[in-house]
């Protein structure tokens, strides 16, 4: 990997809409709100934005073909160079990577990155739209549902490392509690391990309270070249490293207990950021948590915990807001909500606020200088990573 990068790039603004089960607003309206919020304290205006990157997940949710084009006006992309970024659930963090190279390359001085999802349009439930990710000839005829693949991966992860279900339930407890302090939350709640384990079994070992909800929301960030960022922002948050990686679609031929593709994406981002000891140099992390076990699985893939050991660190409180390595201080997908593409960018927004000390009640206690956001998607396939820093 050649690291001959032309420009330093910073995030100078972040914003998001409420996260909701059924938004009254359209995706375009939600995007407009998120962009307005992101621009508000960025020191830049929509006229200063030279290009726009948009992340939004399957067209099938909305039944709107070429949804990127439909959303463009709400994303502030009117008559601007515009690009849609899409790798399923990984899209939110994939989009900031695209935004980064728009500016790092020297092509543009500024870029607006927007992510939107409106899952509530699909009736009666967007689950059916997800089933088309499976192979049409060899898997779909078996009557698949989306939960299967998570349940199969979770069972493999638990069995290989002998992790009890109680330990995984703790992720739901932590994230739902953290979510209570998020002003945009859909599903923040005080729940106990017992309640998680007594919630309905969806597809064993997955219980209802271990699954993130379907959500509507939009999030946005503003990116600028170093000279602009220093001029307009009191505290630019630098994009230090980016990484992404895609594994084979033959998911039944690899061991799901460990996400190799997340490790590859993380190593790429660490190398670029000059990070050699991530457990010391990353101070706050937002790993992707669509299911409770996935936060642990991803922390291991990100090399922030030994394989199979993330649950022990969780039990010790290492990942609490006042712990050594706060994880999902926002509440994440389990505690705020899971508007697919917007969920990834929501994690980037949280790291931005945490590093600037602007996270309010959610502010972590270890005075973080460097943080990491990660998203995941497709057939247990894609890892997208970004490292942000105020140093």
């Amino acid at each position: 990997m050649g690291l001959n990068i032309k420009h330093k790039v910073a995030v100078v603004g972040a914003g998001m809409s409420n996260v909701m089960r059924r938004a009254e607003e359209t995706g375009r309206e939600l995007s407009f709100y998120a962009v307005k919020e992101a621009l508000k304290n960025s020191g830049l205006t929509i006229e200063d934005v030279e290009c726009v990157v948009m992340a939004t997940a399957p067209d099938a949710f909305d039944g709107v073909h070429m949804k990127g084009e439909y959303l463009a006006d709400g994303a502030g992309a009117f008559r601007k160079p515009y690009m849609r970024s899409y790798v399923g659930g990984g899209s939110g963090v994939f989009a900031i990577i695209h935004g980064w190279y728009m500016v790092a390359s020297g092509m543009f001085k500024t870029c607006l990155v927007v992510a939107e999802e409106k899952m509530s349009s699909a009736q009666p439930h967007p689950q059916a739209a997800f089933n088309s990710i499976y192979d049409h000839t060899l898997e779909r005829p078996l009557g698949v549902n989306l939960l299967w693949i998570f349940a199969l991966e979770m069972n493999r992860y638990m069995s290989v490392h002998k992790i009890p279900l109680e330990d995984i339930a703790l992720v739901s407890v932590k994230n739902k509690r953290n979510g209570l302090d998020h002003p945009c939350t859909q599903v923040g709640a005080e729940v106990t391990v017992k309640e998680v384990l007594e919630s309905e079994i969806m597809a064993w070992p997955v219980h209802r309270l271990m699954v993130s909800p379907t959500s509507d929301a939009a999030a946005a960030i503003v990116i600028a070249r170093d000279d602009i960022a220093r001029r307009v922002s009191e505290q630019p948050v630098w994009i230090k490293g980016v990484g992404w990686n895609l594994d084979t679609a033959f998911w039944t031929n690899r061991d799901l207990y460990y996400p190799d593709y997340v490790e590859k994406a993380a190593r790429m981002a660490y190398e670029m950021a000059g990070i050699t000891n991530p457990r010391k140099e990353i101070h706050v992390v937002e790993p992707y948590d669509p299911f409770a076990y996935k936060e642990l699985h991803h922390l291991e893939g990100l090399l922030l915990a030994d394989r199979g050991k993330a649950p022990e660190l969780l039990k010790k409180g290492v990942f609490d807001r006042d712990g050594e390595l706060p994880s999902c201080p926002s509440g994440g997908l389990l505690g705020v909500g899971n508007p697919i593409a917007a969920a990834g960018l929501m994690k980037v927004c949280e790291i931005f606020w945490q590093l600037r000390g602007e996270a309010g009640k959610r502010q972590v206690k270890n005075n973080p200088k460097t943080g990491l956001a990660q998203a995941w998607g497709d057939l247990m396939q894609v890892g997208t990573v970004v490292i942000l820093s105020v140093n």
Partner: protein, 167 residues
């Protein structure tokens, strides 16, 4: 003063029912060609055989078959018959249907490592003839239960399910 921007309002279910909206019920139809490698695999299933392929470079024996090795990026043309037995690599006990309706009888999807293929190489299928789902274990030996020959169509469902194998 600029007009207020709407942050987003969450509709209650009954509000959503009453909200102004337009409905669209698409009837989408597709016909997917199985392709060269999976086509040959499906022909094998019709004859009650599970076929695999071997990459001449990395020597991995793979199922489902493919026309090229994604690891070595070379074509694959060596075919072999695998056994119709295997080992449960992982499984779930699913109580919801594909559109999230509650199932009376749970389904047991599993990744099954097929005997004769390289270690860790499996396919997605379901388990059946299981007395109590609680007794399903990773590492359990299983065997394919086939549709009667006349009813086979050359589809993954020519295998009805895999059943636990008495040791």
């Amino acid at each position: 003063m600029e007009p207020k921007v709407i942050r987003g309002r969450d509709l209650k279910r009954d509000e959503f029912e009453k909200a102004l909206k337009v409905e669209y019920h698409p009837e989408a139809r597709y016909a997917w060609d199985a392709g060269y490698a999976v086509g040959k695999f499906l022909e094998g299933l019709k004859q009650g055989k599970i076929l695999g392929v071997r990459c001449r470079r990395c020597r991995r024996i793979l199922v489902p078959p493919r026309a090229f090795c994604e690891l070595c990026f070379v074509p694959i043309d060596e075919w072999l018959e695998l056994k119709d037995t295997g080992t449960v690599n992982t499984f779930s006990i699913s109580y919801v249907s594909m559109d999230v309706k509650r199932l009376e009888e749970p389904e047991i999807p599993a990744v099954i490592e097929i005997d004769g293929a390289s270690p860790g190489v499996g396919i997605l299928h379901k388990l059946g003839e299981v007395d109590d789902p609680k007794n399903v274990k990773i590492g359990m030996k299983v065997k394919a239960v086939w549709k009667p020959e006349k009813e086979r169509t050359g589809a993954i469902t020519d295998i009805l399910y895999f059943k636990p194998l008495e040791e």
